[in-house]
Structures are given as structure tokens and as C-alpha cells.
Amino acid sequence: MDSLVPFLEGAWGWATSSAFTFSMILSVLGVVAFISVWAMFAVWLERKASADFQVRLGPNRVGGRFGLLQTLADGLKLAFKEDLIPRDSDKFLFAVAPAVAFCGAFAAFAALPFTPAITALDINLGVFFIVAVTAIGVIGVLMAGWSSNNKWSLYGAMREAAQLISYEIPSALALMVPVLVTGSLNLKEIVGFQCLPSDGVLDKEGLVYLSDHGWLAFYSPWTFVAFIVYYIASLAECKRAPFDLPEAESELVSGFHTEYSGMRFSFFFLEEYGMMFVVSAVAALVFLGGWQPLPFISLNMGGFLGNLFFLGVFLAKSVFLLWVQIWLRWTLPRMRVDQVMVMGYKYLIPISLFALLMMAVYEHWGVRYLPGLF
């Protein structure tokens, strides 16, 4: 054990600094591995959590008494299933659609900084890139719905397109509020803003220091409003209840993926759980301080162990937000399609616009909380 930590430290330093191409490959492979393991974990969590809400036991046979390997077994089953393509479908589009849908969520992973050091792609337009790239998914869904040659699938795809385009606006506007505050679209810099030392000394000696800004969700009332709006809109973007109209089981049978089977179906599944992670991670990074465990009190850590700790914190936050998604899904009934549109256009967009405007005014005045009170 004594030699393990220095060894890992060494390997870590080499992988992150010396061999750039190797690091890139490692990152991509890491993303692929992570997204699969993550989806497995998320599905397991969803099944266990929903079982808990519903006075059931949930998976408890495969992989120990907690059914940890149930998802793996299900995934294997899906992999060995026959790949059915309906006779009258548009076969090329039908075959390509799951990959296109998956692309969006997959590409978004690349730009997510997991810790200060673990980032596959550190780009200055991180927020913009993620917002743009996750919208690709809707094309895949539209392709799937259209090419299936099934009226129910088409309905699901139409609903998905309408819903996603409507909710992109409030979610992007809500993300603009922290961008306005921090003045950066780089996710790492946004997190850096949230743990900026109060005294302005960047090279800290000690482990713990104070930071004035704190998590952006608590930075100002308007950033908090933006956080809530973003979270609600992101639910709609990953087609989660109460906005799960595109695959509304009791109305549209299974929506756009009614005709899919086997691995192609599981790609839609991966996309959904990948998206769930992406929006949770973005919310955690932008609004909840990313890898910093506490608001207003920041930790100064580095190296392998420090990054491991930060990674744990970041994942814990993401899992918490994901758990809230699961919680909402198994609590709320589904909204009707017009109610979803009303919610988006009449409430979320005006609220997020107003929050953006007010944040701009506050920034102009140089205040964070209610003027006169704080």
C-alpha cells in the first residue's frame, strides 16, 4: 500500500501532462467506459429508488442481495436480442437514428470537467458546446419517429421536437445568468469563480480557505431562480417525468422507440441516462460549486488523492441531482402536451428572461442580494 500511492501519483502525472495524445485516447476511452458504467449504475439506482417509493423490493437476485448486476444482465439480454427493422420503415434512417441520438449525450461528456485535472476536452465555450451538442439528440429522435413508419412513434417524435425546442430556450437562458456573473463560458472557470479566495491570493498554502462568491445557486436570488428554472427545463430536455410525453407509455405505447429492439433500443436508453447525467453534472458544476464540497469554504487540493476526492464530491452532487429526477419521476403524474407548452412558454421563459435581466441590473449596481437589505 505504501508504494501504491506514489506509483499512482506518478502514473497520474504522466497521463495528465507528458503524453498529450495518449491522454486524449485515455479520455475518450474513459468517457465511453464511464457512460456505460454510469448508465448501469443510474438504471440500478432508478430501479432501487422506485422500488423503495413503491413499497416493492426491486432487483434483489442478480449480483448479490442488492441486485447490483441486474442492469448488466438486462444489457446482455438486449445485446443478444434480434435486431428487428420493420419492413416498411426507412431502413437507413431507422438504423442510424439511435447512434445520432446517442451522439449528443456522448459528445457533451467530453466537455465536462470532472475535477480540475480530469477533463477530456477543456474548451473555452464549454457551456455553449454542451447546450448545442445535447440538442443533436432531438434529430435522432425525429429520425427514429419518422423512419419507424408508426403513427405512435411519429407522435412521440413530434412531441419530443416541440418539447425540446421549447425547453432549450429557458434552459439556455437560465445558464446565461451564471455566465453573466462569471463572465466565462468555460465550465472550469465557472467553478473557479465559485471557489475564488476572498483575499484574492490565488497561490494558497493551506488546505482550507474562504471564498466570498460561494456556490452560484446561492450567489444571488436571481441565480437561485436560474438554478430552479434550469433544473425544471433540464427535466424536460431529458424527457423525464412529468415531461415524459415523447415516450408517454399510457398514451403513445412507447413513443418514438416503440419499434426498436435489442441494441438499438438500448442506445436510446443509454442516451436518456447519459443526458440525465449531463444535465445533473452541468447543474452541479454551474450552480452547485462543481467539485467543492461546501459553499463559501473551499478546499485547496491537488495531485491524485485530491483529484480523487474532488471526483467523489462532483459525482455525489450529480448523483444527488439525478436522484431528485428519479424522485420526481416516481411521484408526479404526467402533464398534458399543452400544459407542458404553457409551462415552457408562459412561465419558464419569462421567468428566466426576467432573472437574466435582473442579474444584469444587479451586476451593474454591484449588488448580490436585495439592495438595501444586505
Binding site: 422506485s50 413503491q54 403513427k151 407522435y155 408517454a248 407509455e249 399510457s250 416516481w330 398534458r336
Partner: protein
């Protein structure tokens, strides 16, 4: 559109093409119109669809998300139940009645047995009547639990379903204890009941009722007052008393529209005139009288009334005594010649049996008035003009059982 008994294969009503002028379109001269033709889409809902509660097929014509016409198509579960009633003896026919409304099999047994007893003039012992009441009301609670649970499922709320089934499981255990079956009981027999109450059964029912009354309130937290649930059901599928009566609706669907009509009160059978219970009706708490929410609410309240009835029946249950009428305890039962109709309050409405006997072992004619069949007929007039998601909500609130619709 009630008079238009259209077949599902009929052509969709033609729609005039809509024309829109696009103002300020620089590529077109200002006086040209763009022909934007919208087309009605016929979609086929069922017989394999999660929300049609069985093998109901609905041919639906939709304009976008709006249903313009709906045509229920039944018959996928037809099993010649009425004809079988003429070819087997009355006693042999009782198990068949289990299979109509399989969620309320006790009630089906009871309706048939009461009708036969009416024609054959059989006197049923008092203890058997009490046991029948207890079994039937427990079965009503179980049936309403399924209705409410699956209604949540229709609206995308999965969790209440499991809570409803948890309670239902207890009732099924109690009913299994007394007759050995969980769904198709065949417990109520002509002239009485199959067997006497087992030791401990009555005490267990009391225990269950105490627990159940507290758990009924959970549904208010889970579903009843949920904002989204109310938004999905209030003012949706509003049904006036006049229309409900005109279509022959009975049961919670009729009472949801505000008419206080319950056969247990109007034409008391068994010993219902000895019990005190209220008949809940829809009052439009969340929206208009007769909307989906009211029908749901009536079912929820009725479970509480059933609990009251069971409690009273348990209190009044005579100790000891016969459970079977003397003259029918053999397979060679022969009815007297004659005819008669008897309707009982099934969980879904008036379940009526019309029997003609020529004095033999079989009935000459057995006709069943199934409540779900009559309730289903309203869909054709209710669905047009609603949204697709509302159509699902309305079908769920009517609470049909396809085994009974087709028979």
C-alpha cells in the same frame, strides 16, 4: 353522433383545406394564398394498448393532438357467455359468471345467484346473506382499488398503483382464505355460500379495515390533490346527468355526474336496508360536476362506505346457523318455470341478469346487462374534441373491464 353507428372501416369525414395568407412574404405576390392542407390521421388505439384496460380497440381520428372522432370497437374477448348460460345448468353456470368482470367476481356470482333464487323462489339463510354482503363489499373495495391505481397509471403516476395493489393484496388474501381463489371465486352459490367463515377470518377483516381506513388517506396525498393530477382530470370529460342517463350509465360514472342513484338503496337486495351508508356523488370540488376527477373521487369515497357496510355486517353477523338453503344442495337443482330480472350494484354499475326458466336445470335464456358495456358507449360522444392525452384520462375514468363488455 350517437345515431351514427359507424364501422371502424368507414372513411374519415372530409375536411376543407385550410388556406393561409402569409403576409409580408417577399417571394410571393401579396395576393397569393398558400395552401396548407392539414390531414386527419386515423390511429388505431388497441386492442394491444396499455391504456385501453384490456382488448378494447378504439379507432381514433386525430387532428394534431385533438381527437375529432372515436369509434370503440369491441368483441375481442367475446366468449359466448350468454349462450353458455343456456347450455349448462344453473349451478354449473356460476363459475362462468366469475369471468365477466374479473375484478369483481363476487358481485357477478351474487347477481346471478340472486336472479336464479328470484326465479326459483329460494329462501337464503340469514347468515349466508351476511357472509355474502361481507364478501361482496370487500370485493368492491378491491375493484375500486384497481380502478384508482390503474387510473394513476393512465396519467403517468406509477406509484399510487403499487399502494393500491398492496391493499388489494390483503383483500385477496382474505377472500382466498374463505374460498381458495384470488380472482375467480365461485364462492356465492345458488341458495347460499360455498362454506362458512374460517376461524379468525372475521377478526382479520376487522384488523384490515382499521388499517385500511388510515391508508385510504394516503391516496389523497399520492393522487387526489396532486396539482398535476387535478390539472389532468378536473374539467376534463365533463358528463351531465342528462347525458349519463341517456346513455344508460350506472354506478360511479352516473354518481360522478351528481345523480344519487345506487341500487343498494333504490332496490335493496341482500340485507342492504339494514345498513347505514351514504351514497357519494360528484359535486365538482375541483372543476365541474361530472368531470374525471369527480368520478375518481366518488370511487375513493365509496371504498370508505364499503368499509362502513362491512363493519356493520360483521357486527350483525349471527353466530351459527345454516349457510345454504335446504332445497338446492344437490346437483339436480331445477328451477321453477318463470322469468325474472334482477339488477345489483356492481362496482361498475348495474349488473343485471334476466333469466327465463322452463322448469329444467338450464335456463331457457340468460341475458346479462353488463355495466361496462353500457358505460363504454359514452366514449363515442365524449372523446371528440378532447386531446389525445385526455382521451386516455376519460377512458380510465369510465373504468371498463373488457371481460364484461364482451362477455
Amino acid at each position: 353522433m350517437a345515431d351514427a353507428m359507424t364501422t371502424s372501416g368507414a372513411a374519415a369525414p372530409t375536411q376543407p383545406a385550410k388556406t393561409f395568407a402569409l403576409p409580408g412574404d417577399p417571394l410571393r405576390p401579396p395576393d397569393t394564398f398558400v395552401d396548407v392542407r392539414t390531414q386527419e390521421l386515423q390511429i388505431n388505439m388497441g386492442p394491444q394498448h396499455p391504456s385501453t384496460h384490456g382488448v378494447l380497440r378504439l379507432a381514433i381520428w386525430v387532428d394534431g393532438e385533438i381527437v375529432t372522432r372515436a369509434d370503440p370497437d369491441i368483441g375481442y374477448l367475446h366468449r359466448c357467455a350468454e349462450k353458455i348460460g343456456e347450455s349448462v345448468s344453473c349451478i354449473q353456470y356460476v363459475p362462468y359468471t366469475d369471468r365477466y368482470d374479473y375484478l369483481a367476481a363476487m358481485n357477478n356470482n351474487l347477481g346471478y345467484c340472486l336472479a336464479v333464487e328470484k326465479v326459483a323462489e329460494v329462501e337464503v339463510p340469514e347468515r349466508a346473506q351476511y357472509i355474502r354482503t361481507i364478501a361482496v363489499e370487500l370485493n368492491r373495495i378491491a375493484s375500486h382499488l384497481v380502478a384508482i391505481g390503474t387510473y394513476g397509471l393512465d396519467l403517468g403516476a406509477f406509484t399510487p398503483f403499487f399502494y393500491a395493489f398492496r391493499e388489494r393484496e390483503e383483500i385477496l388474501r382474505l377472500l382466498e382464505w374463505i374460498c381458495g381463489a384470488r380472482l375467480t371465486y365461485n364462492f356465492i352459490r345458488i341458495g347460499g355460500v360455498m362454506r362458512d367463515t374460517p376461524a379468525g377470518w372475521v377478526e382479520d377483516i376487522r384488523k384490515f379495515l382499521d388499517l385500511f381506513e388510515t391508508r385510504l388517506d394516503e391516496f389523497n396525498d399520492l393522487l387526489t390533490h396532486n396539482h398535476i393530477f387535478v390539472a389532468r382530470t378536473a374539467n376534463v370529460g365533463v358528463l351531465s346527468i342528462e347525458e349519463a342517463v341517456r346513455y344508460g350509465l350506472t354506478g360511479p360514472n352516473l354518481r360522478g355526474s351528481g345523480l344519487r342513484y345506487d341500487l343498494r338503496r333504490e332496490q335493496p337486495y341482500l340485507l342492504y336496508d339494514r345498513f347505514q351508508f351514504d351514497i357519494p356523488v360528484g359535486t365538482g370540488i375541483k372543476g365541474q360536476v361530472g368531470d374525471c376527477w369527480d368520478r375518481y373521487w366518488v370511487r375513493l369515497l365509496e371504498m370508505r362506505e364499503s368499509v362502513r357496510i362491512v363493519r356493520q355486517a360483521l357486527d350483525q353477523l349471527p353466530t351459527g346457523g345454516e349457510i345454504m338453503a335446504k332445497n338446492v344442495r344437490h346437483l339436480a337443482f331445477k328451477s321453477k318455470a318463470g322469468e325474472g330480472y334482477l339488477g345489483i350494484e356492481n362496482p361498475r354499475g348495474e349488473l343485471g341478469y334476466y333469466l327465463i326458466s322452463d322448469g329444467g336445470a338450464n335456463s331457457y335464456r340468460s341475458r346479462i346487462r353488463a355495466p361496462s358495456f353500457c358505460n363504454l358507449s359514452i366514449l363515442e360522444s365524449m372523446l371528440p374534441g378532447t386531446m389525445l392525452a385526455d382521451a386516455v384520462a376519460i377512458i380510465g375514468s369510465i373504468d371498463i373491464v373488457l371481460g364484461e363488455v364482451d362477455r
